[in-house]
Symmetry: C2
DNA sequence: CAGGATCCTATCCGATACTG
DNA sequence: CAGTATCGGATAGGATCCTG
């Protein structure tokens, strides 16, 4: 996108990157790095989880936000959702190939931050 | 999640122990993945930029949010800030070693997303 | 158990005006 | 140029209740 054509201002000499507001990647990034999205993706990195397992894994998240975040990530193609019409119902979420691909840099980011922080004990 | 003020949340809130009991990295992750933080970090990955260059690079950001985001990231030790007391004044921002380290997975994330999205044509 | 619907508050964030 | 201060609308997000 940093090189994509933008009718009307394509003539501008670019000394630096320009992140357009209408770039589709920007929405995706926003979803992935949303307040809870990153934790959902990291939580599912090792194995699929059910709704309540995710809720307990990501402490502090409300059911509303978890449901909303999951819906967005499924729509974006980062997660798959499997419903077993039992009683009570069971819904499992897991990473798609795309989600797994995206999860790597997120886990890396998280690791680098945690690796760096401990000595300072949250200044 | 964006530049939450330094006066830490006085209220003892639930801890987010996704992987650890107390996660000091949570605030850092929130800042880094804030709405504008990630774009600031990515914009500065190749070279330092001045305030107005950042504003033009990150299309859609307001001066208020840029200033707020920069303040947060400088405080977190991800960016350095250099003021030249000329007239008019010049303020330059760049990545610290920590910021550069954190910027890598972010750039990686961005690249993977853009590489995966359908070609950005005829919008 | 998984979530939708509703209400309501905290905060985000843009617009505007002002300063050094 | 590079901010700060303030106002107010938009939105995020929690709490609660309800359903299949």
């Amino acid at each position: 996108m940093a090189g994509s054509a933008q009718p009307g201002q394509a003539e501008a000499e670019k000394r630096y990157d320009v992140f357009h507001t209408d770039c589709p990647a920007r929405d995706m990034v926003d979803h992935v790095t949303s307040r809870w999205g990153i934790w959902v993706l990291i939580s599912l990195r090792s194995n699929p989880l059910r709704f309540y397992e995710l809720r307990e894994s990501i402490q502090g998240i409300s059911e509303k936000m978890l449901a909303q975040t999951l819906r967005t990530l499924v729509r974006d193609g980062l997660l798959w959702r499997e419903v077993e019409p039992t009683t009570p119902p069971q819904v499992t979420y897991g990473l798609t190939e795309f989600g797994r691909d995206i999860g790597e840099p997120l886990t890396d980011l998280f690791d680098r931050i945690t690796r760096r922080l401990p000595p300072y004990s949250a200044a």
